[in-house]
Amino acid sequence: MTSASNDEIVLTREPIDAAALAASVRAPEDGAVATFDGCVRNHSRGKTTLYLEYEAYEPMALAKMAEICAEMRSRFSIHRVAMAHRLGRLEIGETSVFVAVSAAHRAAALEACRFVIDTLKRTVPIWKKEFFADGAVWADGETPSIPAETPSRKAASD
């Protein structure tokens, strides 16, 4: 699922091909590509993790991811973005989220990459369930900010 020309936004139940996404944002006018790869750790809460399951409110998650791209473009001089989140069951070591950003200069690429992953974790309706030997728990999450009583659509993403 792809949105605006230079933004690739993906929710997928298949393994994420990080190298292909990193290559996809790169162009001759770029001097920098920053990436972030979130992967499934073998431990959490002091216990051994067996696997994870992710679910999403898919159309809203895609809309929020597109809003993050738009907001990032208003803040940073970047060229292309790819952001992908995996859904369903993930094994240890697999990539759950991947972000790649290209830019002419390094500061924009690095700062935009960080902005994407930090904002995604606060605002995109995706949920993680952690499975341990002794049971499963929904991860502690972050509560998104709510718009004011008379919301404007634009303010709703923060």
């Binding site: 409110y57 809203m60 989220v97 605002t123 995706i126 502690d140 718009p147």
Partner: protein, 81 residues
């Protein structure tokens, strides 16, 4: 009027289903819809403070007015990434 309500994560497990259709009086707000859901699924009560609402795929205040056919969700804290 009828609205569609969606459940995700912990809320989906408590309710035991991922969506429902709810009949509400005209002029109802998001908070009235939640009250109705809590009548149907009392276990939701303790989670109210941790949830945020969405209306038609945008975060929305609990005081938002609903319209027929709206799609509403009560979202637990998000934990993507």
């Amino acid at each position: 009027m009828q609205v569609r309500v969606l459940f995700f994560g912990r809320v989906r497990e408590i309710v035991g289903r991922s969506e429902d259709s709810i009949e509400l009086a005209p002029g109802a707000r998001v908070e009235d819809l939640f009250a109705r859901c809590r009548e149907l699924h009392p276990a939701l009560g303790p989670y109210r403070a941790s949830l945020v609402a969405s209306r038609n795929q945008e975060f929305a205040p609990w005081t938002s007015m609903l319209a027929p056919g709206d799609e509403v969700a009560f979202l637990p804290p998000v934990s993507g990434g």
